[in-house]
Amino acid sequence: MVIVVFLCLLILAPFPSSLGLWPIPRGLSAGTATVKLSSSFDIHVAFNNVPADLDDAIHRIKTHLKTDTFERLVVGRGSADANSVHRAFSIKDLTLSLTQNVTIRPVAVEVNTVGIEDRDESYILTIPAKGTQATLVANSTLGLFRGLSTFDFMWYHFDGEKYILNAPLRITDSPAFPYRGFSFDTSRNFYPVSDIKRTLDAMSWVKLNVLYWHIADSQAFPLQVAAFPELAARGAYSQEEIYTESDIKSVVKYANERGIDVVMELDTPGHTTAIGMAHPEHIACFAKSPWTKYANEPPAGQLRIASADTVNFAKKLFQSAIDLLDGTMMSSGGDEVNLPCWNEDEDTLAALEQNNQTIAQALDQFVQEVQGVMNANGKMPFIKSDMVLEHNVTVLNNTGVVVWKSSLDAVSVAQRGLRFIHQPSNYFYLDCGAGDWVGNNVLGNSWCDPFKTWQRAYSFDPYANLTTDQQHLVLGGQMPIWSEQSSSENLDQIVWPRLAAGAEVFWTGATLPDGNPRLGVNATSGVNAFARLNEVRYRLVDRGVKAIALQPKWCALRPGLCDVDS
């Protein structure tokens, strides 16, 4: 009797800090036994016709199990566990299976053909304390992929062994929100495809599932599309700083195979000056001075939305981009349009007069036209929140709104009954706090100061101010990097590990597996989320992602000793 009670306590105890899972699964029971992987450990799939991308994922994990050298963050590192590892039972096999009667499809197909709210990412992973057989069960290959990501990112290394300290382990997991993204600006400064792929790898390890690709902006147009190759030829920073059609396809495929959807944003009608390098006829107030009057940042320039030619150009541009893109979502952007730009543009004024339109009507029509192209191609359209809240444009009912200016705007979007994703500048902007990049503003700080710490992002409540009836409108959220002050040189450092904070907010949701609130007392204590996030950071560095240190290593090795009140 005493023994039984004791075991129950072990199994029901809150997840231990030595179990560094991120995002923390929604259902988790863990023990205290050490188990290691057998030297002959292998991963088997219990069904035929294994899709190639699932097989590739298995191979990547087997490679990681050989190449990872991350040792547990404890004083003495792995040697602290040497004795228990020596005595531990060995897991010989992980078997993957699908529940009965599901169609076996590639991971990529689950991602790029199924709507964001209709995917099944759930899985059950068990690792016995004394047996030899670990199991992973899911309803889809995508679910298996998520379970594999958990398995991939949980082992400690020491002296040639891979082990955990918390067997038996049973994880019953599924995301709280279907959309968990990263918004990536590749216009202000360019990033090679290799950087994007490394970022996708890291995203997949923390179960992020959308790359929202802000591919072009006023400064550069690196996107090569068949209909208008001159846009990149003249609007990219150089011939080497172009995403060719094969680059785009390669990135989308790479992402999809890792359970990640690519939502390309063609930000329109503002943020389009670079189009004027090849097509000046479509751009109003091109590089007009003073830029502060005509745009939020230099250079000024917006599509001539009142011009039928320009609308047709935009529609063709969207269609040509869509032809490159697998997936069920796309965005037309729409942030920060500037009215003086159009009001002083003779071509725009003439077109408005000819059409007997106001600029607001022209904007409304423009948005409907580009949304129409996306809709006709089966893409759920996304749009930036100011289009809806400030310009009151007509959008399709299935539009997803990107709420960005302030977290407080979410309520207003919800009141319109539209689905949305959270991208609030006051919580999630990874670029804030590095000073003003505009010249001749000597003591200027960034417009969205201060720096958004991981703790700040982690404290975000997706349901804040929403009624229960409105909660279903929240698809999830994404942290963005705007690249005015970022490039290949600091991508990893400015993104990681902070981006992982957003991953847990939207995967785990409000409740930890032990039933306590995620944002309970001391959520960011070194013994709670901070300990697990330190682990994420060291694991990323071990795999070549240059994530910044969150603390002195002394603190990372001693969870809780560097808390404000410790």
């Binding site: 400064n189 006023s218 400064q219 190759p229 001159e230 030829a233 150089s238 011939q239 172009i242 060719t244 390098m277 090849a278 091109f286 830029w291 502060t292 230099p298 250079p299 706090g433 590095a434 000073g435 003003d436 505009v438 010249g439 001749n440 000597v442 003591l443 200027g444 700080n445 960034s446 100061d449 201060p450 720096f451 710490t453 703790q455 982690y458 404290s459 005015e484 002050q485 490039s487 040189e489 600091n490 990893d492 450092q493 959520a523 204590s525 070194g526 013994v527 901070f530 560095v541 910044i548 240190a549 969150l550 002195p552 290593k553 002394w554 000793l561 560097c562 404000v564 009140d565 410790s566």
Partner: protein, 580 residues
Amino acid sequence: MRLVTLPVVFTALLATPTTVLALWPIPKTLQTGSTPLKLSSNFKININIPHAPSDLHAAVQRTITHLKTDNLQRLVKDRGAADLKAIHQHTTHTLSSLTLSLSGSHTSAAAAVTSIAEEAVKPIGTRSEGYTVHVPADGSPATITANSTLGLFRGLTTFEQLWYTSAGGQVYTLESPVEITDFPSVPDGVDLGKPYRGLMLDTSRNFFPVKDIKRTLDAMSMAKINTLHWHATDSQSFPLQIPGFTEISAMGAYGPDMVFTPSDIKDIVSYAGERGIDVVVEIDTPGHTAIISESHPEHIACLQAVPWSDFANEPPAGQLRLASPATANFTADLLSAAAKLFASSLFSTGGDELNSNCYVHDAETQKMLNATGRTLEQALDAFTQTTHGALRKLGKTPVVWEEMVLDHNVTLSNDTVVMVWISSMNAAAVAKKNFRIVHAPSDFFYLDCGAGEWIGADPTGNSWCDPFKTWQKSYTFDPLANISAANAHLVLGGEQLLWAEQSSPANLDSIVWPRAASSAEVFWTGATLPDGSPRAINGAAGALPRLHDLRYRMVQRGINAIPLQPHWCAVRPGVCDLTA
């Protein structure tokens, strides 16, 4: 093939400013022409100096390599494509050689010439870093002349920054002839060779391998920064392996692979010296020493006392038992053994953030104080005299943080160098006490500020020294603010600093560069540009275009310096100004 059609002839709507001569720091005097000049593919550098030291030969070889491999295209909209026309004119001359020579008494000296490394570690005030560069427009040999090999090295650094590379691989300038007479500014305008232009790196909170330090030294030398202030140890780890005290790093480093051995240190010191950089090591005492307890618990008071905030400015708590003669002697011996590993005339004993409450609650310390009838301040004074006395025996001049002068009654010799960090406002008070000053103010120069709180369970915490210190903020620093003319001679210079609680090799380059070059120009160029106008930040003729150039050149050399603006702005000087 990416480029398929070019349908529309594009007319440039934006005026391209004239070329920017991308020198950083900008020389004290500078005259340039507007004649294109090519660099020969067989370009040679002749050292017209008998018995030239090997580190000068090595520096010349590096310059030759940089000229070949920098491959930096000019930061204009077309990246120099239009320059090809100018440089491929048949009338354009080619520069085939550069001659280095020493001026004055050195020219005929039969004795061996002092090496760059030896010059770099001479006491502040006795170094000669000035030089002249002459690049004729007609292709006749260029010259660099200086009074020392260190000056020649500074001249080579400048020479490297004169050149761009075209898309076809031609190295060229559009601005010959070039005449530069340059030397570091001095705040009081008198004492040549005095300025201290530094970068501080903390290798304790998180560890940095030797290769990261060397890459940083390379970057520093590009901006003529002449001092690495190496905050080597702290409470979190003790990576310095010191002969006679190897147990401290054996037990106090983060791991056996996170130790600087004596040979690592020698390697760093010589690498720095060859690049004109003095390595001033700091072993911070008596605070910031908790980790020494791993091997010597007998010397540490209030070890990991909780709550740590009562006993230290950051965890873990723990300070040397300064009232104990055994601890004072141990510390003096430790510092002496460490000092012998370094060539510099300066050695920092730190002294910041001493927590008196730690000692109030330490029974050992109280027992010592009671036994000797001394106050804590008296004990600190005795402790400091013991450690500084030991360093002086080795010919070292002590460096301390400002609290040792402003907050404590410690007897310090007049030549002690005091680093002002808490606030730029405190420099005047240090000057009034007649100590020499290095500016290291947190409100201008801390590179780590603004990245949020690293302490746990503080969900809304920002960094204590918010906001982020932009390059512009650092660039506006006035070394003589609030300091009387009579005290101006006390200002040695200054440094930007990286405290490494949230930094590691993963982000070293990106958090340091190019921001740390800001103070390099503040302390080299001083308040006045070569044309006599005050230093300005922005506009096509301001500092930003030149700092972009330094950043892009650093990236070409493998230093991951961050972009300061979208590339669109970098190739259009002035167009992204607030007022443009």
